[in-house]
Amino acid sequence: MSGEALVSVSGLTVHFPVRGSRETVKAVDGVDFTVAAGTTFGVIGESGSGKSTLGRALVCLQYPTAGRILHAGRDPFSLPGAALRRHRRDYQIIFQDPGAALNPRMTILDSVREPLDIARAGSARERAQQARAMLDRVGIGGMMHDRFPHELSGGQKQRVNIARALTVRPRLIVCDEVVAALDVSIQADILNLFADLQQDFGLTYVFITHDLAVVTHVSDMIAVMYLGRFVEIGPAETIHGNPTHPYTMALLSAEPEPLPRAMRSDRRIMLRGEIPSPIAPPSGCRFRTRCPYAEPICAAAEPPWRETTPGRFAACHFAGTGTHATLSEHEILAS
C-alpha cells in the first residue's frame, strides 16, 4: 500500500499580508509531512485552521512564504512557467461547492473535455471520447453528457468535478471538503466512488475536511491542524481510537454520535471560546487559550513533538504522560 513519498513537505509556511497593516495572517505556519504514493492523507481542522490554504499550496495554487514542497522529489515552484503548467496536470484539486466549480454556460461534457483541450491531448474526437468515458466511469450516463450544470443534482455535479480532475490522469488529488455540501446518502456514494477510483487509477489523496467520521473512514494517515500548525499526526485508527492531544480529544468528544444515550460515551471535553486570530497566535502552545489542561509552561515554550505511540506524534507538553487521562476522569466525576 505505502510506496515512496509522492508529496513531501517541510517547514511549509504561507502568510498573507493584512491590508493597511504590517501584520500578516499566519494561515500555515510551519508544517512538515509526507504522503506515501497510493495512500490517503487526511487533514482535519476547524475553519480558520489553514487546511484549505495548505491544500492550495500542495497543488501550486498558492506560493509558500517559506518552506518546501516536493512532488515525487521535485520542487514544482522551481519549474519555469510552461513546465509548471504541464507538471500541474499530475496534481489536481476538487472543491467543496460542486456548482461553483463548473461553468454554468458550458455543457458538462465540455467542462470535462476542457482540461484535455488545454493539454492538447490527441484529436478533438479522441478528447471527446475520453471525456465521455470518464463521465461514464464516475456514473454519469450518456443521456446527461450534453446537459448544463443547473440540470444536475449536487451529487451529480460533484461526480462531474471528479471526472474533470481525472481526465488528465493525475497522480494526486486534493479533496477540499468534497462531501460537505452533500446529503448523507449521496455522501456515501461519492466516498465509495473515491475508494474505487483510488484502486483503479492508483491515486493518492489528500482529504481535507472538518468531518471526523469522514476523515477516519477514508484516511490511512490523519493530521490534526490548529491555527496553522499540525498538533497531532499518525495512523487513522490510532488517532480516532486513542487521541493523545487535548485538541484531538476535544474534536472527537464534540462529534455528535448517532447512538442512543446508553451507547454514547459521556466523556465530553467542552472547549471554551473560539479559535484565536491567526494574525497574532498565542505564544508557546497555540491551543493553550482553549485547552482545559493548560499549565504555565504551555505559554512559555512551544511544545516539542512527542511520539506518544509508535508512528504517532503529538505536539503537547503533556501528551502521553497520562496527565490528560487523569484529568478526564476527574471531569467525569465532577459532572
Binding site: E46, S185, A213, H217, P256, L259
Partner: protein, 339 residues
C-alpha cells in the same frame, strides 16, 4: 389573550392534515402531503430527511412564513385551541416571535446588517411587550448574557459583521428566545458551524429549553445531532412523515427502510475503508411522485404491496409508513463499528 380551554393532556402544538401546494391552478405541486404530529410542552423533536423532503417547508408553514400568493397551505395547526392557519396576518404576527420563533442555518442572512445586534433584540421585545426603550435595552442585554455572549453590554451596540459565526448564531438564538416563545423551530442551526462550536450551541439550546420549558423542533440532516439533542425523531421523505418514534428506539431499531438507510450511510457506523451502504437514487420531485409508496423506487425491500399508497400506521409506541413494517427487521446503529 390565551383561551382558557387548555387541559393538561393537550399538547402544545397539534398539526394534522397539513398540505402545502406550490404554484397555482393546474401547475400546482404538493410539496407537503398530509403531515401530522404533536409537540408537547418542553419536548425536543428532531425532523430528519434529505434535502427536498419538506423539512424546512414544514417549519416555514408553522411560522406562517410561506408566501401567501404562490403557496396554498391547508390543514390544522392547533395551539391553545386556535388553528394558526385561520389567523389573519396581524394575529399571526402576534404569534410569531411570541409563541413560536425560528432560527436558521446561516445567521448572517437572518440578521439585518445595518442594525446592531441589540437593536434587533429590542425591536422584537418592543413589538410584543409594552415596554420603554430603557427596559427593552436591559432585557436585550440580559438575553445576550443568557446565550453566553461575553461582554453583552458591549456586544449590544455591535453589528452582525463584527461577530464570529458561532457568536452570530448565539445572537440569533437570543433574538428568538427574548420573548420566551413556547416553541422554537431550529432549522439546521449548527450546520454552518465547526464541531466544537456546534457542541456549544447544542448545549446552550438544551439548557435554555429545559430551563424555560421551551419545546424544540430541530430540523437537521444530521442524525448525530438528533441523537444528542432530541427525544423524538420524525423522519420525512418526499413531503410525508414516514416514521415517528422515540429517538433511542429509532436509532437501535428503525422500522422504516428510509430511516435505516439514512443511519447506515453514516461513515461512523461502518468499519474504516469499507463500502458505505448508500441509498440509491434521489428524492423524487413533487411533480413526478410515485403512485404508491414514495420511497419504493429507492427501497431495497420493496414488494408487490408497495405499489399502493401506504398510510402512516400507528403501532402504539411509534408510527411508520411502510407496508412491510411487520415482516422487516432493519439494521440500526447497533451494527456499528467496534471502536
Amino acid at each position: 389573550m390565551m383561551p382558557e380551554q387548555i387541559n393538561g393532556n393537550e399538547p402544545l402544538l397539534r398539526v394534522s392534515g397539513l398540505n402545502v401546494h406550490f404554484g397555482i391552478g393546474a401547475a400546482a405541486v404538493r410539496a407537503i402531503a398530509d403531515v401530522g404530529f404533536t409537540v408537547r410542552k418542553g419536548e425536543r423533536v428532531g425532523i430528519v430527511g434529505e434535502s427536498g423532503c419538506g423539512k424546512t417547508v414544514t417549519g416555514l408553514a408553522l411560522m406562517g412564513l410561506l408566501p401567501r400568493h404562490t403557496t396554498h397551505v391547508t390543514g390544522q395547526m392547533l395551539m391553545d385551541g386556535r388553528n394558526l392557519l385561520e389567523l389573519g396576518p396581524r394575529a399571526m404576527q402576534r404569534v410569531r416571535g411570541r409563541q413560536i420563533a425560528m432560527i436558521f442555518q446561516e445567521p448572517m442572512n437572518a440578521l439585518d446588517p445595518v442594525f446592531t445586534i441589540g437593536e434587533q433584540i429590542s425591536e422584537t421585545l418592543r413589538a410584543h411587550f409594552r415596554i420603554g426603550r430603557a427596559e427593552a435595552r436591559d432585557r436585550a442585554v440580559a438575553a445576550l448574557e443568557a446565550v453566553g455572549i461575553p461582554l453583552p453590554a458591549r456586544r449590544y451596540s455591535e453589528y452582525p459583521h463584527q461577530l464570529s459565526g458561532g457568536m452570530r448564531q448565539r445572537a440569533m438564538i437570543a433574538i428568538a428566545l427574548a420573548c420566551e416563545p413556547r416553541l422554537l423551530i431550529a432549522d439546521e442551526p449548527t450546520t454552518a458551524l465547526d464541531v466544537t462550536i456546534q457542541a456549544q450551541i447544542i448545549d446552550l439550546l438544551l439548557e435554555l429549553s429545559s430551563r424555560t420549558e421551551t419545546a424544540l423542533l430541530f430540523i437537521t440532516h444530521d442524525l448525530g445531532v438528533v441523537a444528542s439533542a432530541c427525544t423524538r425523531l420524525l423522519t420525512m421523505y418526499a413531503g410525508e412523515i414516514v416514521e415517528d418514534a422515540d429517538v433511542d428506539a429509532a436509532l437501535v431499531a428503525p422500522r422504516h427502510p428510509y430511516t435505516s438507510g439514512l443511519l447506515r450511510s453514516l461513515p461512523r457506523l461502518t468499519p474504516r475503508k469499507s463500502r458505505l451502504p448508500s441509498i440509491a437514487g434521489q428524492v423524487p420531485s413533487p411533480a413526478e411522485m410515485p403512485e404508491g409508496c414514495r420511497f419504493a423506487p429507492r427501497c431495497a425491500h420493496r414488494g408487490p404491496l408497495c405499489a399502493n399508497p401506504v398510510p402512516l400506521i400507528d403501532l402504539g409506541d411509534r408510527r411508520v409508513r411502510c407496508a412491510r413494517h411487520a415482516e422487516l427487521t432493519l439494521p440500526g446503529c447497533a451494527e456499528r463499528r467496534l471502536a
